[in-house]
Structures are given as structure tokens and as C-alpha cells.
Amino acid sequence: MIDTLIQGILLGGYYAVIACGLSFMFSVMRIINLAHGSLAVAAAYGLWLLASRFGISPFAGLLIVLPAMAAIGWLLQRYLLERSARGGALLPILTTFGLAIVIDNLMFEQFGADTRSLAPFIGSLSYDSWELPGGIYVGKLAVMTMATAIALLGGLQLFLSRFALGRAIRATAEDPDTAGLVGIDARKANALAAAIAMVTVGIAGAFLAMRATFDPYSGGPQLLFAFEAAVIGGAGSLWGTLIGGIVLGLAQSLGAKVHPQGFLIGGHVVFLAVLFARLFLVGTPIIGRIGFTKTGFAKIRAAIRSTP
């Protein structure tokens, strides 16, 4: 039982890593990025290509892939999301949905249907573990993932609250017009935020590819898990995302313990339970009082999107 709990928490670390970029993009840019999973898989393919073709270790490969992801984020915001956001709140969602389809199929065309993994390129790390007292083993990679999740979310939180650029990004998220009046270039702040989000997506892609296998259509499930973690933790709260990831990981691990096929069901059940609890305990009064708030709307949209 203790083993199940520990493994569940560590799995939650992975979910927090993949949910981080989604949650960041939603909280500071009000964009629900449905291409999130596909972009993570694209980063994974980038690392795999560097490793298998050029023999570059995935960790060194990150030095190339992460700046590339940042550039992709910047360009996406400037040329796609910024334009579609002018057409209303719904359009960016449709845009990223379309983008996900394009990315998935481009990867399929390029790399075929074979499943790939970075596990062969990271030596013994993919299966090494530490033994805890009581005969419990924890995977080194899983512990690393959890540490990364904490560092990533903590780092982002610190950046947003303590640094001038972080404050500029938050100000732009709240009121781009007034942000301009205090001297912030709102377009630049948003493009920077998108670049940061894509860097976290790149990191998520690396862990996805190191801990398991992936294929061109792996993005969908990753998006789903990221969504569940982000919504359970309270969409838009960065520390909440860590908690959400852990709750999801625990629910899946416990579900698997109950029944061999309980893994996914356990996660979905907890996700739906949290969602309805929030809708009835928190959501409804808000809807009743002042109509749909922006976040209320987005939560419901998020819920619809991520319900399997």
C-alpha cells in the first residue's frame, strides 16, 4: 500500500511537469492550448532525432531543443494565437485544435507509426532505482521528474512574483490596454510568456520520451492527463497544478490496485468528482450572482474539452 502511494505521488510529478505549460498558458494568457500534447511529442521527436542520428545525449539535446521550442512559442503567439485572439475567446481554442491535428499528421508523415523512446539513449537511468527502507524501490528517473516538477513550478512562481518581466506578463494578462499605458509592450510580454510555456512543454516532452514510448499520436493522451491535473489543481494556479498532478497520479495508482483496468478510470473518476464538486460548491453561486465570469467560462470549457 505504501509502495502504491509513493509510486502514485512520483507519477504525479510527471503529470505536474506536463500540466505546467498548459496551466501557465491558461493563467497568464487565457489561452487553452489544445496542441499542448502534440507540441510535447514534437519536442520528444526532436530529442530522439538528435540522439539517434547524431548521438547527442537527450540531456545535451535539451540545450538545442528548448531554445527551439522557445522560438516556436514566440512565433506561434506572434503569427497564430495573437491573430486568432482578435476573433474572440473561442477562436484560439479552435486554432490550437487545428494545430494539434496538423502537428500530429506531419509527425506521422515524417516518422511513421513506429513507437520510439529515449530510454535506449540514457543508459541505466531508465530502469535504475533507489531502495528505500522497507524494500520499496523508487525509480531514479521518477524522482528526477518530481524534482523537476517542483523546480519548474517554483521557478515560474518566483519569476512571476519577483521579477519585473514576470510582473509585466501578469499585468498584460490582466489588462493589456493599461499594461501599454504603464510602458509594457503587451505583444512582447505575451510572446515571451508563450516562449516560456513552450520551454516547459519541451521539458515535458523529454520526460515523456525517457520514461515511456511515444508515437505521432501520443499527444492526445498527454493533453488529457495535463488537463486533468490542471483542472483538479484549480486551472491557473501553479502550485495547485503540482497538487493536481499528485492527486491524479495517486488516483490512477490506487485505481490500478483495485482492478487491473482501474488505472485510467481511477484518474477520470477523481477528475470528474473534483469538477462537479467545484461546479456545485463554487461555480454555481458565481454563475448565479454575476453571470459567467471569464474563469468560470474557461473552467467549463476546460471541463468539456477534457472529459473523455
Partner: protein, 242 residues
Amino acid sequence: MTILSVQNLDVRHGLLQAVRDVSFDLAKGDVLALVGANGAGKTTLLRSLAGAHLPAAGRILLNDQELTLVPSHRRIAMGIALVPEGRRLFSQMTVEENLLLGKTSGRPGDWTIDRVFSAFPNLVPRRHAKTGHLSGGEQQATAIGRALMSNPDILLLDEVSLGLSPLVVDRVYAQLQSLLTSGTTIILVEQDLGRAMGVASRVICMLEGRVVLDSPVKNITRDQVTKAYFGLHRANTGRAAS
């Protein structure tokens, strides 16, 4: 010495022309009161001076430098800061964070957080409070402080008394007094004519987007401004009045 020159400015909201052919020059140290009924185009004029709303025609010059199409985030770096109507604070952020955002442009000058707090002592205990939780007077002080943090040459104040009780308005103006006499160039929009004429050195009255009266305060009576405000001067003098 002319610091700001507005020439034949037209500003539109889609089909609605809010500002029509407005021209005036502002000398350094002037305190200009912009008066006029609701919808006369005062706020739109201020917003276009701050760059939040680009004009359809005309020119804006700052120290003989063309400013007309410069976006708002660069204008503040050139020395024009707007305290927007309705204060428009970042409500999820603290007083201190809002003030720090005012420094984004990095203009050199003597305004610091501590100086803002000494100018607006009512903010001191609220330093780490979210601005969404402040009273109206505290919010207005924060908004003015945020604009001052950019060390502006020209400060645009849009209806600082909007939604505040008369007592609080007195307080805000008392706190502004040192600023008004310090030689900073100020354009202020104010509904209270007595107050506006009390602090300003010059008054411009707008009506339906046009300037219908432009005069030093000392050469004009409250009655004359009121007439221009309601457009009553037209019956006698036609459209011309300046």
C-alpha cells in the same frame, strides 16, 4: 517654451468622430484643465495623447518630436503618463507591484516607491494589499503614484475625482497640490468646474469633439466657461470662440 503641440487632431471610434480638429500648444509647467460635458471627447483626447488610441488625422509633437503614431508603451518612455479614467489598476497585484510596474519604462528621475508613499501616506499600511481590495481614494492614489513612478514630463489626469466622495476628493487634491505647483506639466480632466479652475493655469472647454474655449484661467469667468460648456455662446458668436 512649447513642450506639447497638438495640431488638427481627429480621433475616431469607428464611425463616431470623438475629437474634431483639435489644436493647442502647451508650455512647460502649464496646468491645463480640460472641461466639457460627457461625450465631449475629453477622455478620447487624453487617450490619444497617451497613445492608447491612435488618431485618424492630425499630429502630436512632444518637444518638436513627432509622436502621432508612437504606441503607448513607448510614449511613457518619452515622458507622457496617463492616469486613466476609472483608475485601471491591476487588481490582482499589490500596491507595491502596481507602483513597480510604473517603472517599466526606466525613465530616470527622483520618483521612487518611498517618495510615492510619502506623497500619499494613506497607502503606507496598504503596501502589500491587492489593489482590488482598496478603497476608491487609495486606488486613485495608487494610480497617480503608478504614473508618477515613470517620472513623466507631462502628466495626464483623467477624472481623478470620479466615484470618490467629496471628502476623499479634497484629500486627493491636497496630495496633488505639491505636484500642481512643482512645475510638472499637467493636463487634467475634471467635472467640478470650480475645482478645475482653482488649480489650473489655463482652461480648454470641449463641446461635441471641438475646442470651443481656450483661455488662461485668470482672463475668464466661471460664467463664460459654463456658457461654452453648454454651447450657449453659439447664439451670439456663431461657432467661433477661442
